[in-house]
């Protein structure tokens, strides 16, 4: 794909949306009214795409690779969670999981829009859509926990519990990043992930302390998910360099808070941390389980079948 953000804007891509909203709505605090509902102000993926296309935000190669990792984590999780719509135990829970999926999709769009500013074998920038729809499985950098099948509701809640506590620690720390765009994305995302923590913790408590069956399923859910926890916290050369530069943090440095905070909820739910062997992982290097290919096939088929499709 050689479409640059500039040409995307001219043909009615994301840049167009961004300009339209900024120009027309005037949704700032100055025009806020007591009775009129406004979308409010927040850093949006469109703003990032525009900044990248204008050259006012440009990630270093390392930062772009890091943004790609976090964007892929969020994108794959959004795709998994979206599957729950119409399948959750109650309509209200459909919407709760759908909301969380959309939050994750928003984070993915921001990270990928930013990552696209530095990538491309032909030297051109790539859009969020280029990265989401036109990369193959080994080019994805997400870790395995995100691509695991949803399982039953308790398995999904177990994963949500783990990843939301992980993402909260990560984004909290990234708000201090020396990279202003990463810090900005994290500042927006951390509030949303805070709610995801609450949602999953509420369900862990209820399932674990509900009926015998719900407790059994919650215990099973954690047993399925826990082998994939370690991979989230593994350092490598990239995170070492970024941590040195102050742009990111070593994942291992998030582990103590994660263990403490998840431990508090698990103790209240009278659950044990499962005693399981960690998986070898490899997602950050593009080595994935058998599940990701199917997920991507479903996610990418429309964009690949009808390139440039929009609605």
């Amino acid at each position: 794909m050689s479409t640059t953000p500039e040409t995307a804007a001219e043909t009615g891509g994301h840049g167009d949306i961004s300009v339209g909203v900024q120009g027309a709505s005037g949704s700032g605090e100055a025009t806020a009214s007591a009775t009129r509902i406004t979308p409010g102000n927040a850093l949006r993926p469109e703003d990032i795409a525009l900044a990248v296309s204008r050259g006012t935000a440009k990630p270093s190669e390392d930062v772009a690779e890091f943004a790609l990792r976090l964007g892929d984590d969020a994108l794959v999780l959004a795709q998994r969670l979206g599957h729950w719509i119409s399948r959750a135990p109650e309509l209200e829970e459909d919407i709760a999981l759908g909301n969380i999926a959309l939050d994750q999709l928003g984070h993915a769009r921001s990270f990928l829009s930013y990552a696209g500013g530095a990538l491309g074998e032909d030297g051109t920038a790539r859009s969020e859509d280029d990265l989401a729809y036109f990369r193959s499985e080994p080019e994805f950098r997400s870790v395995e926990i995100f691509e695991l099948p949803n399982g039953d509701f308790a398995v999904t809640i177990a994963r949500q519990f783990v990843v939301s506590y992980y993402q909260f620690e990560l984004y909290s720390r990234l708000t201090q990043s020396t990279d202003a765009t990463l810090a900005g994305i994290a500042a927006k995302a951390v509030k949303e992930v805070d709610y995801h923590r609450d949602h999953s913790a509420q369900w862990v408590l209820r399932l674990a302390q509900g009926t015998d069956e719900s407790r059994e399923k919650m215990i099973h859910g954690f047993k399925v998910i826990w082998p994939y926890v370690d991979e989230l916290f593994r350092d490598d050369e990239l995170t070492a360099r970024l941590s040195e530069a102050g742009a990111a943090v070593e994942p291992s440095s998030l582990r103590a808070n994660f263990d403490r905070l998840t431990g508090e909820v698990l103790a209240e739910a009278e659950l044990e941390v499962p005693n399981v062997q960690p998986t070898p992982g490899g997602g950050r290097k593009g080595l994935h389980s058998e599940h990701l290919g199917y997920l991507l096939a479903e996610m990418q088929v429309l964009a690949r079948e009808y390139p440039g499709a929009s609605w």
């Binding site: 406004t38 979308p39 209200e92 919407i95 209820r206």
Partner: protein, 100 residues
């Protein structure tokens, strides 16, 4: 507040009131299902404040609300009709009264 789960594993209904802005009152937004008050608040947040509609939410078990009888409209609500002396505009202003 605890609300016991109903028979047949159906979550009870809660009525949701959302305050859109500081200084305004909570307004009935709709209803939802939830197993308890804590989850009702969260479901209300997800269902009724997705578009920046609120700064505060109340949830009330639907069964805790006593409502007027729709069939008693005549005796309940039509009695004040025609009683224009209950409105300030019925009266003429006395001479010399300021700031009215």
């Amino acid at each position: 507040m605890t609300t016991e789960p109903q028979a047949g594993n159906v979550w009870p209904i809660w009525e949701v009131f959302v305050r859109s802005s500081r200084g305004l009152s909570h307004v009935h937004a709709g209803s939802l299902h939830a197993p308890d008050a804590a989850m009702a608040l969260r479901n209300a947040r997800d269902l009724y404040t997705r578009r920046n509609e609120g700064v505060s939410i109340w949830v009330v078990p639907a069964e805790a609300i006593a409502s007027s009888d729709p069939d008693a409209k005549g005796s309940f609500f039509e009695s004040p009709q025609g009683k224009d002396y209950r409105h300030a505009t019925y009266y003429t202003k006395s001479e010399g009264v300021k700031h009215l």
